[in-house]
């Protein structure tokens, strides 16, 4: 049987739920506001960091993992770890194709067939539609 530390009917106080809800709304405002400031490469870092904090609040309090059997937290983290493995290892391939043969790093097809008959914006007909030697990273 389980020797768990969780209380089967543990009741989270009302004010914690409301406080977490408020925090989530504030963090949403923060992330939207920051997205209008140009931080270059940091924008995605900040956005994901804020999302991670929001996610943690939902998981720990709304989903009760702070008070529950550690096994559930392990299950959740295992999912995240394997997802990370999937994305990371796939990107070992997709980001690195041109190492030996640079032409393997080109866009598969920079201009798909569907655009052949479309009138294009002058903005679209720019130099970055030509296949660059290194792809537009």
């Amino acid at each position: 049987m389980s020797h768990e530390q969780s209380h089967p009917h543990h009741i989270v106080p009302l004010k914690i739920y409301l406080a977490v809800g408020a925090a989530l709304l504030i963090l949403t405002a923060v992330t939207v506001a920051v997205s209008f400031i140009d931080l270059g490469g940091l924008n995605i870092v900040v956005a994901l960091a804020v999302a991670a904090v929001k996610a943690s609040l939902v998981i720990l309090f709304f989903m009760h993992l702070k008070y529950d059997n550690k096994l559930y937290m392990i299950i959740f983290l295992v999912a995240i770890v394997f997802l990370a493995i999937f994305i990371t290892f796939t990107m070992f391939d997709t980001l690195d194709r041109g190492v030996i043969n640079p032409e393997m790093d080109l866009h598969i097809n920079p201009r798909a067939k569907i655009y052949q008959n479309m009138p294009m914006d002058t903005a679209a007909v720019s130099s970055d539609t030509l296949p660059p030697p290194a792809s537009g990273h």
């Binding site: 939207v32 995605i44 709304f62 995240i80 997709t94 914006d121 970055d128 537009g136």
Partner: protein, 218 residues
């Protein structure tokens, strides 16, 4: 052996192969968390596609994402977060035996979910109108960069799958409202409510990541 005796003190909701309510409730919760794990991996595939195509086309992604309405996206985020609060509160109410409050909070959660889908409907129909459609149906010309249809393909796949899960969640909430009304639940037994709550929070969780990646960063 003591089969006949144990039947005397046998709660209605306790299934025959479990030895007591605690074991049953813990098993249900464990099962639900494993199911959530499968949902994370399911959406994960789409996050991977997003990551790969964004790395290959990040200028195009940046230009294309500007055509997403941040206001509507933010409204939806607020709506979903609030619905998570009301969902948690509805379970809290049942833990205290307040059936009417539970029903009202479930109803509000359901309403907020519907609002989410209505907003999404407006977003989608605007895109259809402009021709910002996935794949071979794409006809919009205002996005600079190569193959802008890829961004919209990814956008529709991710938000579409999420929307289907919102719809499924609404079905589950309605079912929970019916069971609550029929007095199926009590402070001693509210496991299905808990499980529905877990599912709903996951739907919120996925949106917490979808929103910045699609609407704010691109």
């Amino acid at each position: 052996m003591s089969h006949a005796d144990s039947h005397a003190a046998h709660p209605k909701h306790l299934a025959h192969h479990f030895s007591d309510s605690v074991q049953q409730a813990e098993s249900a919760k464990l099962g639900m968390w494993i199911f959530l794990l499968t949902e994370i991996l399911l959406f994960g595939g789409l996050f991977c596609a997003y990551a790969v195509f964004r790395a290959w086309n990040h200028e195009m992604f940046y230009s294309a994402h500007k055509f997403l309405d941040v206001t509507l996206g933010s409204i939806n985020t607020v709506v979903l977060i609030t619905s998570s609060v009301t969902m948690a509160l509805s379970i809290h109410a049942m833990q205290l035996g307040k059936k009417k409050q539970t029903l009202i909070l479930l109803a509000i959660t359901l309403l907020l979910a519907a609002v989410f889908l209505v907003v999404k409907y407006f977003e989608y129909s605007h895109k259809f109108h402009l021709g910002q459609l996935p794949g071979k149906y794409y006809t919009f010309t205002g996005v600079p960069g190569d193959n802008p249809h890829i961004f919209f393909s990814v956008y529709f796949a991710m938000t579409g799958l999420h929307g289907i899960h919102v719809l499924g969640g609404m079905g589950a909430i309605i079912w929970m409202m019916l069971r609550t009304a029929k007095n199926n639940f009590s402070p001693e037994y509210y496991t299905p409510l808990e499980l529905t709550g877990l599912y709903w929070h996951l739907v919120d969780l996925i949106w917490i990541f979808l929103f910045p990646l699609l609407y704010l960063i691109g």
